[in-house]
Symmetry: C2
């Protein structure tokens, strides 16, 4: 098969856009032409001549010579308008915008089918790790049991620096931003929205599921305190923010994003700084692990480049798991084993805690190790943030709620 | 794209053949038909009815309804005859036979081009790790600096058991064979031929190089002794058998297989038992790491299945690195930093040792840490085995020989 000539219209020239430009310019044996770059801010200093840029998106979208749109802007809603228009006009699209994808997956898939075009987004999940392609092409006929990992470079960088190097949270965040790992708005990272979007995208390719962001719990790392770090260190754990997608015997699939205590037997223990890692557990392959740079212009640019290259060979995702006979369904009805640091016994009644196996209280530090109800946690995720409660899952324990769960009575919880 | 109907003729029904059969039968959403299975031994008890089998390869190769040959036999030369005939007859081929591939790569590539057919072999390298597809599709436009890893499950299993669990070499080998990890003939594994074949195959996809097995040094683990294990443990190293493919600034590429002392900062440190791991260092992506099951019927069967599935969508390797403008060439003219346990000072003069930085001698245990000349080691690989010399590379140190190397005079070596 010979490569098709691609004429690219690029939206966005931030960290990843410039990374792509650099990667494309220095890549051997491949020439794709960036015809025009659409940018928003006319006052920002740019590294290329003014003639490369436009402020009018129509100049790209209405140009029939441009057959590929590469969308690398921050604003998810504006990105969606651009991508929608591009697909409708029969242009292929490469994007790294996980929020846009996770929020509009169903509509985007319909658009690609209607217009017979390709939408690729390897760079949207885990930077340079080729996880979407691996799920699509390698696991297409293998049943996957679970998929988890470290999908967010910013939080992993912050956790590494605060835990191993004792930096303050603010110092660590500042470092991550200075190095270009952190997104423009860190809230999406540190509160676990960004890894949730990625988990939703990967759940489509691994299990054929279309989940909506509002259906999935995400708890981040903003409430982490010194005591939690000490507790974890004493037990030999590291703390990582881990999105989990797990299939149960009945074909239902649970998805959630929570901090997790990780033991040294888990490969994620050794994924530090801005690196990402993905664990895939399959029927035949067993446990596979992929690790690579999860953030930064060049690694993400390289992932965009691999999509552009694939496009030149006519590649598109087949979504094989979506079309398989065995249908998986989203299931929020789960219990998780958690460590939960709280302020007042009231917190426990609010958060759906069952079967307490350990509790500790002192004047300044109170925690339980217990089973928690995922749906109740989800209903209270604002409460968790506001009250400064820190939760981390333990030991990979997650089960369907049908399992016997001993409910702890409200009075018993309040008397702890 | 809709999947093409595949009619498979299978050669071999050993560990991987049965794994494939199991995986295919239990895989959801995919049906490929195994028309006939060719086997050699009429006396072996089989798990399927006799009508599934034939002892006459022509019954498969001459059947025009069979459009795919899956070759999973042990004998590399017989495999080559089968694959050659199949390709010549316009049939696609999936194989896991690394020795056959590494020995006949050039001729096989020519045959696929002449007959316009596809030859896929993901299962030939690192079991369930999709490394060839990743190199072909993800790294196609990115310059790779180095590729190394643990490519052989048998030796890694033996090293893990002898070092961490203090089993004897013979016990560990027996366990590996009982578990179905070890090949019929362990010599290819334990003397490093098997990982060398894999390194040669991966060097084609990563660097576009066609190396011949006889050009590449392989030193295995048969000479490992208690003292070497103790030395490594005291320094905090694990010992792994590591094939290395490394590109230098001048575009030349070195390939060798040697035991290596691994520090805990290297992800390969955590790859134990039958697991394999691959480290890829690229220009833009940085360091990526893949880990998965490197041996066993099901993981390897899953890799074969992924090739069969890809075939049904018309997939073939493009060998993009082979066709790129920048040509890489094989270079054996390297120096390596090694730990070398020897018996007699004569050994050192024989093995091309330079610039000794440490030496230790007692009545029963003598070693140097020094620079070694790769070409001289290669010329003496029989000597290494026969004299029970153990060599392991250190610190990832490998350089072009143009670098200043202080030659140690013969007299100085003999006086150690």
């Amino acid at each position: 098969m010979t490569a098709q000539k691609l004429n690219i219209g690029l939206f966005g020239f931030g960290c990843v856009g410039q990374g792509l430009y650099h990667v494309l310019k220095n890549s051997k044996g491949f020439t794709a032409n960036i015809s025009k770059i659409a940018i928003k801010d006319p006052h920002k200093k740019r590294s290329l001549p003014a003639s490369c840029f436009t402020f009018d998106k129509a100049e790209i979208l209405d140009n029939p010579d441009i057959n590929v749109i590469v969308e690398l802007i921050d604003d998810a809603e504006e990105a969606f308008r651009i991508v929608k228009e591009a697909l409708s006009k029969g242009k292929h699209v490469v994007t790294a915008n996980k929020k846009m994808l996770a929020t509009h997956l169903e509509e985007l898939l319909a658009l690609t089918e209607q217009n017979n075009v390709s939408l690729l987004y390897e760079a949207a999940c885990c930077g340079s790790i080729p996880i979407i392609r691996t799920l699509e092409e390698y696991y297409d006929n293998e049943r996957i049991h679970s998929l988890s990992g470290i999908f967010n470079g910013t939080t992993n960088y912050i956790l590494t620096k605060t835990i191993s190097e004792k930096l303050s949270y603010a110092q660590a965040l500042k470092q991550a931003q200075d190095k270009g790992f952190a997104e423009t708005n860190p809230v999406s990272d540190v509160e676990g929205f960004d890894p949730k979007y990625k988990a939703i995208i990967l759940a489509l390719h691994a299990f054929g599921i279309l989940a909506r962001p509002e259906e999935i719990l995400n708890v981040g790392i903003t409430t982490l305190r010194e005591e939690d770090i000490r507790y974890a260190s004493e037990k030999g754990y590291k703390i990582k923010l881990v999105p989990t997608v797990k299939r149960f015997e009945d074909g239902s699939v649970g998805i959630f994003v929570l901090p997790r205590f990780i033991t040294p037997t888990n490969p994620l223990y050794y994924v530090d700084n801005e690196f990402n890692g993905v664990l895939v557990d399959g029927d035949f392959s067993g446990e596979q692990f992929l690790k690579g740079r999860g953030a930064g212009g060049n690694p993400t640019g390289a992932a965009v480049l691999s999509d552009i290259s694939a496009l030149s060979f006519g590649y598109r995702y087949e979504f094989k798991k979506r079309h398989q006979a065995e249908k998986n369904t989203l299931n929020g009805n789960l219990v998780l084993k958690v460590y939960l640091r709280y302020q007042n016994p009231e917190d426990l009644t609010q958060l759906g805690i069952h079967t307490i196996s350990e509790h500790y209280t002192s004047e300044t530090y109170k925690y339980v190790v217990a089973l928690a109800d995922l749906e109740e946690l989800k209903a209270s995720s604002d409460y968790i943030r506001e009250k400064g409660v820190f939760i981390a899952t333990l030991d990979d324990y997650v089960e369907l709620k049908e399992q016997k769960v001993k409910t702890v009575k409200r009075e018993a919880l309040l008397s702890i």
